[in-house]
Amino acid sequence: MNFTDLTFWTFFALTLFAYWLIRDRFWQNLLALAVSYIFYGWASPWLAFMLGVSTLADFLLARGIRAQPGRTRWFLGLSLLLNVGTLAFFKYFNFFADDLAKTLDALGVDNDLLLVRILLPAGLSFYTLKKLSYMFDVSRGTLQPTHTLVDFALYVSFFPQIAAGPIDRPQKLLPQLETPRAWRLEYFYNAWTLLLMGLFKKLVIADSLKVMTDKIFGLEHPSIFLLSMGALAFTAQILADFSGYTDLARGLAWLFGFETSENFNRPYLALTPTDFWNRWHITLSTWLRDYIFFPIRRALMRSRVPLPAWLVLAVPPIATMFVSGLWHGAGWTFVVWGLYYGILISAYQLLGMRGEWRPKTAIGTGLAWLIMFSLIVFGWALFRAPSLAWLTAILFHAPFIQTRDDMALGLVAFSMAAFYASPLLIKLALDRFPRDGWFHAAYYALVTALIVVFLNSSSPDFIYFQF
């Protein structure tokens, strides 16, 4: 089931009605939990079973930490093994199995088992991080483990978030789950613009751009110009796709009476790589910052052997972004994409340009933005490239423009990117004014009309489902 399917909306409307009909918090949570498992197990009940088992394991391990504080490391280690092991197996089995199978084949060893394709369960990467943050915080003593399995299971599996986040912290969602709630109109007012914008970004912007970006990134030898325009279109597509999903997830959560985290804050206006990651996929960035970046930096700063300042500055972002790359996918493009941002963050920081850095003049700001935006577009080219070999072959061997067709279709890609990004730019400008005025209302009315026009019988999955 997808957030843009009519089946989903029918299912959602019925659930919502029943949810608010029940007044008792426990039964509301139980219903939301059941619905979350149906939603998640819709494609294959096996996925829901796996989610249930791993949730139960973490619930018990967290209780174990509380009951036996002396064995905290042991319980945490077990949880890490379970969560990271499962994620690594599903995510990287295919990646390593192919190479291993070839090696075994060369040695004449039977490798049939390695040729089995393992499909990554949708959302595994997202709910694993949610469970891990719960375990880390319980083990650090900054969070009391919950006593109710239903609440914890709902925190992990809450259906608007399970497929692609936001990766809400237990401190944000669990207290809300533990509080009684009754229907308030405020929930609807908070939800409707998010739902509208989510559908608009996905159905109108992302799906339209996808047609062109898939074509360009599907070519064997595109020219550099065509690739650049394709990357520009993909830059708009991925923002619309992912932030559209987040808007829908947040809107749906509001209708259930929950406030969930924002994931995007005008990311393409960033002036530095650190600034970009403070604005892009915020819940992932903060997760990586709190559980990977800070511990590494702390360890380096407390090192008994004195380390050079540049090393203490460079290693944490590179290591963190390397993990981020691995989290995004099993492939060298993702690894290099992560490292690319790690190096960029380190380089900017070594030059004294941290997240809050701002040039003093307007020209300086414009230039800093242009450089950062170009770096972001190049980053997305790395991310979307079918392989690293493909990208390096183009960057080092392809001509800037090969034929007149390259020029023409590059212009079409640019035109599409500009056209479909314009509603987002208009919204950006509109948001400088009070949001309850006529202009906003007119904008949303136009958005509704465009959704109606662009509604298709079927739509592709959200890009972030695959991570």
């Binding site: 007149r404 390259d406 640019f414």
Partner: protein, 339 residues
């Protein structure tokens, strides 16, 4: 409360305005008959081909036939003249139209029509009927194609969609509006720089031709497009058959005295899980029973061990060696079926 009411008011206003302007601009009367509008022109391409070549056997199918069957070799092996009526990217809706509006109305009727398909295509009437595939269908459809309209479009609409198509101009004319938007986005900027519609369309055709695509991406695109065929509901033959074009194709062939032969060609696509593998097996079993009851021979090469992975260019298309191999296998099967 106020912002939402303002939005509602403006949306209603917009619907009223578009309700007045759209019917005039696109010359559509509302309420309208839901589904696409076909023009009255029908291509005679295959009528002419039949009358000119007078083949004994006609092979209908998509690109699997184009690259997978050598009609000259097939003619030599069977001793019967064979002709390929293949349309790359086509599906059962187009095969039905070609059979109905070209083959059975030709002066020369072939002895047999052989439909080469993969897995569930025969009972997926909504497969490849939108966008550019619609243009392909329109070429062989008359203005009033009741069966086509019902099975490829109306049956697949939910009540909400049906109502919106019928009464809401903004939705009913969405294809025309999108075409206009797409044309603007696609042509306006390059035209200012000297590249007109012909230049852009030619560019698309040349640059995005199959030969220029990265093989892995091509595979992924095929797999993604074909996923529609393996949805659990489409793997249930009994629920799909009566609303598909298969019964109509069998009836048309029978009434015209043409022997309809259905050929399932192997694809190298791996099932996504065991449930899908079992469902497909059940589907093929039911299809086989149905065709046996309908006296339509079914040649199932879907699991044929003679067709190996090295005989394929990608997951569905045979290479030159595969083509020769399959043509030989098919010839043996057709001789047996037409005895």
């Amino acid at each position: 409360m106020k912002p939402f009411l303002r939005y509602l008011l403006l949306t209603l206003l917009l619907l009223v305005v578009t309700g007045r302007t759209i019917p005039r601009r696109y010359q559509i009367e509302f309420p309208r008959q839901p589904g696409p509008k076909f023009d009255s022109r029908v291509r005679n391409l295959y009528i002419d081909k039949l009358n000119a070549e007078k083949p004994d056997i006609v092979l209908l199918g998509d690109s699997m036939v184009s690259v997978g069957v050598d009609s000259v070799q097939l003619s030599e092996l069977t001793g019967m003249t064979a002709s390929n009526f293949d349309v790359p990217g086509s599906s059962s809706a187009l095969w039905y139209l070609i059979l109905k509006n070209n083959i059975v109305v030709a002066e020369h009727l072939p002895r047999a029509v052989v439909i080469v398909f993969r897995d569930t295509v025969l009972t997926a009437p909504g497969y490849r009927v939108h966008g550019s595939y619609f243009i392909q269908l329109d070429e062989f459809a008359y203005r009033k194609e009741k069966v086509l309209l019902e099975r490829a479009y109306l049956n697949l609409m939910n009540p909400l969609e049906y109502g919106a198509e019928k009464y809401l101009p903004l939705y009913g004319a969405r294809v025309d509006i999108r075409l206009e938007v797409d044309a603007f986005v696609r042509y306006a900027l390059p035209a200012r720089l000297g590249c007109d519609v012909k230049c852009i369309d030619g560019g698309f055709y040349r640059l995005f031709a199959g030969a220029n695509l990265e093989p892995g991406q091509l595979q992924a695109a095929i797999a993604s497009a074909d996923q529609y065929l393996y949805d659990p509901s489409r793997l249930d033959f009994k629920s799909q058959a009566s609303d598909s074009f298969l019964p109509e194709m069998i009836r048309l062939a029978r009434e015209s005295g043409i022997q309809l032969i259905l050929v399932r060609l192997k694809s190298q696509r791996a099932a996504s899980d065991n449930a899908e593998r079992l469902a497909l097996k059940g589907y093929i079993g039911d299809l086989s029973d149905y065709l046996a009851q309908s006296n339509a021979p079914f040649l199932d090469y879907g699991e044929d061990p003679r067709l190996k992975p090295e005989h394929y260019i990608d997951s569905v298309h045979l290479n030159a060696e595969g083509r020769a191999k399959f043509t030989q296998i098919l010839a043996d099967g057709l001789i047996e079926a037409l005895k």
